[in-house]
Symmetry: C2
Subunit: 237 residues, 2 copies
DNA sequence: TTAATAATTTAGATTATTCTAAAAGTTTAA
DNA sequence: TTAAACTTTTAGAATAATCTAAATTATTAA
C-alpha cells in the first residue's frame, strides 16, 4: 500500500484517496454514488469497490449499508477536499508556471496530488496568489477546506438569444474536447454573445473575434458555466 | 505495486526505483554494495533486499551472483541517473522557487522524484536555467543522463593552512548537520580561508565575516567539496 | 407479482512488497 | 584451520489492492 503525504493524522494510500475524491465528485454533481459508478470512474471492477468501501467504512471515512448508496462522513469529506485542493492548485501551477496546456494538466496533477506535502501546497498557493479557480475554472477548496461557491454562475445553456456572458468554467473532462475548446478560444475569461439558439444548438460570437461565430450543441452548453454580462465583477480568479 | 511515471519502456515501482538509486549512490561513493548496506539505506530487512535484487536481475537492471557484490547493468544505470536527475532538479526547484530550506528539500524530492513526468522534468529544468548542481552542490545528471564531473573539485580536508577556496558541495545527508551548516553560512558558493589545520580539526574564516572564525572536525571536512581559489571560474552553477 | 435483468457482494486467487525465524554460506581471528 | 561472528538466503506468512466467477440481492417490465 503506497502511503501518501497528508497533514491529518491518518495515513491513506493513493488508492484510498482516489476513492474518496471520486465519491465526492459524483455526489457534488448529483450523480448516484454506486459501486458501479465508482468502479467505472476509478477504472477497477465492482468487486474491488465493495472491498475498498468496506475498508473506508472501518476507517470512518465513508458510510453505507450493503446495497445502499455510498456517502462520505465529515472526516471523509475533509480528505476529499484536501485532495481536490491539491489537484486544482497543481493544475493551476502546471498551467501558469510550467506552461502546460489545458488538456495536459489533469493527468500530471492526478499523480502529484497524493504526494505533495502541506508545505508544498502552501508554497504553490502562495506563489499563485491563492487562486480561487483552476485553469478549467473549477473552484479550488480554500486552505481551511471550504469549497467556494459562486451563486451568479449558471450554464451557458440557460442563456437566451442576445444574452452576453463571461465563461467561468469548462466542465468537460476529456482531453479531446479540451483541446477543441482551446482552439475555439472558449475558455474561462472569454466573453461571448448568444447570436441564436435553436432546438439542438446555439450560435455564439466571441468578444474580439466577432467575425467567426461558433456553433455549440446544447448538450455541451450545459457543461459550460458562465456569469451573465451584467454581473461581471472584473475578476474571475 | 505503485507504478511510476518514467520515460523509458519499462514501468518500475517506486520501490524498485529506490533500490536502483541506492545501488548507484553506494557504488558512486566507493562503498560496498551489499545486501545489508542496501537494507540499511532503504530501511528494509536484508531478506527483502535479496528478493528485490532477484526481481531487478530478472528485469536486467542489476547483476550479481548469490553472496556476491551487487551492481547495475547499463540499463539499470540509466534508470538510476534518471531518478537522480529528477531528485536533484526537484531539490533545486524547491529551494529556488518554493523557498524551501536546505534541510527540507530532500524529503519532498524523495517523494516527487518517482511521480513527475518527462514534461515536468523538462519544464522545471528550463525554468531553473538547466542547473548543473542542486542546492547541496551535488551534480545533476544532464538531460541525456550523463553525470557531470568537476576535476578541479577536492575535499576541504585536502587544503593547507593559508589556502583559500570556494565551497562547491556539502555531502552531509542528515537534516541536523545541514541546518547547522546553514547557520554557519558554510554553503555552496561560500569562499573560505584555512586559518589553521590541526590533528583533529581545521579553523576557517568565511569571506565577508572574517571576524568569527569557524572550527570544523577533519572527519567532516572530508564531506565538504571545494575548488581552490586560484581555479574559481566565476560560476558555480 | 414474478421473471428477467442489472447491480452488488462473496469466495477464492494473484501480484507486489514486506516481514520473521531459521538455515546456509562467508569471513575472521585465535 | 576451525569455531565464532556475521551476512545472506530460504521458507513461510502478512497486508494491500486488485481480479474472475459465482452467488446474492434489487429493480424493472411484462
Amino acid at each position: 500500500m503506497k502511503k501518501t503525504n497528508r497533514q491529518s493524522t491518518l495515513q491513506l494510500s493513493t488508492s484510498q484517496e482516489d476513492y474518496l475524491k471520486e465519491i465526492f465528485l459524483l455526489s457534488e454533481r448529483g450523480e448516484p454514488v454506486t459501486t458501479l459508478a465508482l468502479a467505472q470512474k476509478i477504472g477497477v471492477k465492482s468487486a474491488s469497490v465493495t472491498d475498498m468501501i468496506k475498508k473506508l467504512m472501518e476507517l470512518g471515512l465513508v458510510q453505507r449499508k450493503p446495497y445502499q448508496a455510498i456517502y462520505l462522513t465529515e472526516a471523509g469529506n475533509r480528505v476529499a477536499l484536501e485532495i481536490l485542493r491539491h489537484h486544482r492548485l497543481l493544475e493551476t501551477f502546471l498551467a501558469e508556471k510550467l506552461g502546460y496546456r489545458l488538456d495536459e494538466v489533469h493527468g500530471e496533477a492526478e499523480q502529484l496530488e497524493h504526494v505533495i506535502s502541506e508545505q508544498f501546497e502552501k508554497a504553490i498557493a502562495r506563489m499563485l496568489g491563492h487562486p480561487r479557480r483552476d485553469p478549467h475554472g473549477d473552484p479550488i477548496p480554500t486552505f481551511n477546506l471550504v469549497m467556494p461557491t459562486d451563486t451568479t454562475e449558471r450554464t451557458l445553456y440557460s442563456l437566451k438569444k442576445g444574452d452576453r456572458a463571461q465563461i467561468t468554467r469548462i466542465m468537460l473532462q476529456d482531453r479531446q474536447s479540451l483541446k477543441h475548446f482551446k482552439t475555439l478560444n472558449l475558455l474561462p475569461g472569454t466573453i461571448i454573445t448568444v447570436l441564436d439558439k435553436f432546438e439542438d444548438c446555439m450560435q455564439l460570437s466571441i468578444l474580439g473575434q466577432e467575425q467567426k461565430p461558433i456553433k455549440i450543441p446544447l448538450s455541451i452548453s450545459e457543461e459550460i458555466m458562465i456569469v451573465p454580462s451584467s454581473l461581471i465583477s472584473g475578476k474571475t480568479q
